[in-house]
Amino acid sequence: MSVDTSKVATTNATTPATGAKKPGRGGVVANWADERLGLGGLMKKNLRKVFPDHWSFMLGEVALWSFVVLLLSGVFLTLWFNPSMGEIEYQGSYDQLRDIPMSEAMASTLHISFDVRGGLLMRQIHHWAAMLFIAAMFVHLMRVFFTGAHRKPRELNWVIGSLLLLLGSLEGFTGYSLPDDLLSGTGVRAADGFMKSMPVVGTYMSFFLFGGEFPGESIIPRLYIVHVLLIPGLLLALIAAHMLLLVYHKHTQWPGPGRTEQNVVGFPMLPVYMAKAGGFFFIVFGVTALMGALLSINPVWKYGPYDPSKVTAGSQPDWYMGWPDGALRIMPGWESSFWGTTWSWNVFFPIIVLPGLMFTILLLLPFIESWITGDKREHHLLQRPRNAPTRTAVMVALMTFIGALWAAGGNDILAIKLHLSINQITYFMRAFVFVGPVLAFIITRRWCISLQRKDNQDLLHGFETGVILRSPEGGYTERHAPLPSSRQYTLTARDRGTVDAEAPGPDPSGLAPKQGRLSGLRRRLNTMWYADDVAKPTREELEEAHHHAEHEHELQAPLDGHAADGHQFDGHHAVEGEELRPRH
């Protein structure tokens, strides 16, 4: 039994009741695809997905788009790069290296730079994009942590992001090692030393990686396949997971009127974010292309081919590997000898142990925080950095630590450019890597707490208008005006005090009684975490403050509209109704 619906009106009388309009050509194609792929439902849901708007939410996007630039420019480079350590004599366009024996990897890099149209530009775009890829990941990581976007339910996405950072750094290292020039060869030589510093297994690992004694014939082809297949594959998979989780969790947003933990206020994917994100891709591509065109990076022709007997001043890794290098540079030369073997703590600690430790801390940060605070609730509203003083201070301390080591990694350049002694820089940094983070922690924490006080003051007493009033007695006061209510709402949209699920009763998981000591540590840390935090004002305090402000305004009202300089009493004006002091 079929009902003929073609005559049924599709509108309610405002337009003539005609049959459905024939779909356009695009509609036909979309329909064809939808009937076979069933994407319609998915698209319908996700094309209108809402994302909130804030500049700091676009930092991760810089990393994403630089990665796309890396894929595109990298594919171009693979067309000519020859990852072989076979020795040939260079016969290309660059005069100063002609007839010099070098590996085919180096010769093909020179070929790309001087004999392939646009090759040097592509090499430089690829290298600059790599530097920006990791820099953007760093900045994105800091934004996420400072705003509390790593809290439940996003802890696993934080872990994925940390893995991306680690893999991105390794990808960078394998990439800049490929040309087999003097600088990259020095880097590979250093990596060989790092591996060999590992007790017992080090030499075996080095021989395994290099296929024999350094440098061998295998390292460049091996690094190449890691660089173009293994790590990019992992990066792609993890980026996909990162983005899928982002869509699944929905994006976090800043608190404000109408914004809750249950909704997302912003603009839809199509058309707004398609346009914005698409445009941003071209901006990122444009900036990297400009840098590639204008700024020289890794001029391999000046370094010349790698030769273990040569080294150049200013041999540094790319910036993201700079901080372990700095740790290595400032480490005292500690070594021990056991059973006729040398244990190089001076290399093992700064290069193997420290980065591993720091990466573990990075991975665990969200879990450590939720363990200390006891906060296991879902969070979709962001926190301003000042409203979590201890967390903000922890990140700033970590940044100071990494930053100090990073600076130590450039100690020779600092020495010649600032006319300092490289030894003095080293001695200073040895102390500063320990003292600096502590100072940074204390300063940042107190700074945040002061800013919290400032917020409370604005809420209770209004903001400073810059209007100066003189009282009849001659005293001066500045008029304060109450904040707009939307601003007041935003400032007060935060938790009050601790949110410790465990504090009052027994631990619901039943672990606390068994792990008494750990639980005690947790409680102590929890107290320290929230110590001196300034709570937002209570409803009573706010009402009292508003009442007080209204009273003040009443007192000031009679003066409004009158010159406050007393000139009305100069004898030239009528002063009926003018009073020196309002009566009340």
Partner: protein, 289 residues
């Protein structure tokens, strides 16, 4: 003119002109006199000038240098046995020429390292000082232009010299002076200076005499041709275009990292702020809604 050589004239009338004898005689006299005038008196006068130069150099030395180097350039020790100024006997004219022409000497004050500055003596005074120090004992002389110039070589030889010089430079010099000769750090506040823009002669003299922290690259170590090739390579780097764009000081990855963060990330964040500030609701004319 027959009277001069009558019989001879008759015998060889068709071979020699009648005045030939006289001309030969005059030419001989002229050449003898001219050569004597050109060589002997000139040598005598030059020797005179040399002595004068040395004397003038000594005078300048006593005024400007002897306080630290001693009145006879024998060197001066401080009370606790440190060198105030080393002995200059045997350092040679090349050392004086390098130190004075690059302004390193006279020194402003004792310190970790003596930086170059505008030179204090003119060319003639420098030559006098060099002559005086050279007269104290045998040492390397100021190199002639033919020592460090590759102008005399054919095009192919020149290219080979530059390539060879590059390899010698990368093996012997880059460890301190950096791959592009931009300079590098040495322990305790000392540094290897930049080689960019340093004249060929001064590089050659530095190689010969090893000023400050620099080792001496004697002719047994680096032959004169090899020194010349290194200089040719450095000059070829200065002459070649900057293939990759602005060089960022040619300091290696540190300046590249700084550019990536300050220029690259700075621009990216700037654009992010710009894009976020322009939402669909934002237009130049703000509509009150």
């Amino acid at each position: 003119m027959r009277f001069l050589n009558r019989s001879a004239g008759r015998l060889s009338r068709h071979r020699r002109g009648p005045l030939a004898g006289l001309v030969v005689l005059l030419l001989g006299l002229l050449m003898t006199g001219g050569l004597y005038a050109a060589l002997s008196p000139a040598q005598a006068e030059e020797a005179q000038t040399d002595a004068e130069l040395v004397a003038k150099g000594k005078e300048l030395f006593l005024v400007g240098c002897s306080f630290c180097h001693g009145r006879n350039a024998e060197g001066v020790l401080t009370q606790n046995g440190n060198q105030l100024g080393p002995s200059l006997v045997g350092v040679g004219a090349a050392a004086v020429d390098f130190q004075v022409e690059t302004g390193r000497m006279p020194m402003v004050r004792p310190g970790t390292q003596n930086p170059p500055k505008p030179e204090a003596y003119d060319d003639e005074e420098t030559a006098a000082l060099a002559a005086y120090v050279a007269s104290l004992g045998p040492g390397p002389a100021i190199p002639a232009e033919s020592d460090y110039s590759i102008d005399g070589l054919s095009g192919e030889e020149r290219e080979a010299a530059i390539t060879r010089g590059g390899q010698i430079f990368l093996t012997n010099c880059t460890a301190c002076h950096n791959f592009a000769g931009a300079g590098g750090a040495l322990p305790r506040g000392r540094w290897a200076p930049s080689l960019q823009g340093v004249s060929e002669k001064h590089i050659y003299e530095a190689l010969l005499t090893g000023p400050s922290q620099m080792p001496v690259f004697s002719n047994g170590n680096l032959s004169p041709e090899e020194k010349r090739d290194v200089i040719a390579y450095l000059k070829s780097l200065e002459e070649q275009p900057s293939y990759g764009g602005f060089t960022l000081g040619q300091l290696g990855p540190v300046s590249e990292g700084a550019a990536a963060w300050l220029l690259g990330m700075g621009t990216m964040v700037g654009f992010a702020v710009w894009i976020a500030a322009h939402t669909t609701r934002t237009s130049k004319k703000k509509v009150d809604a």
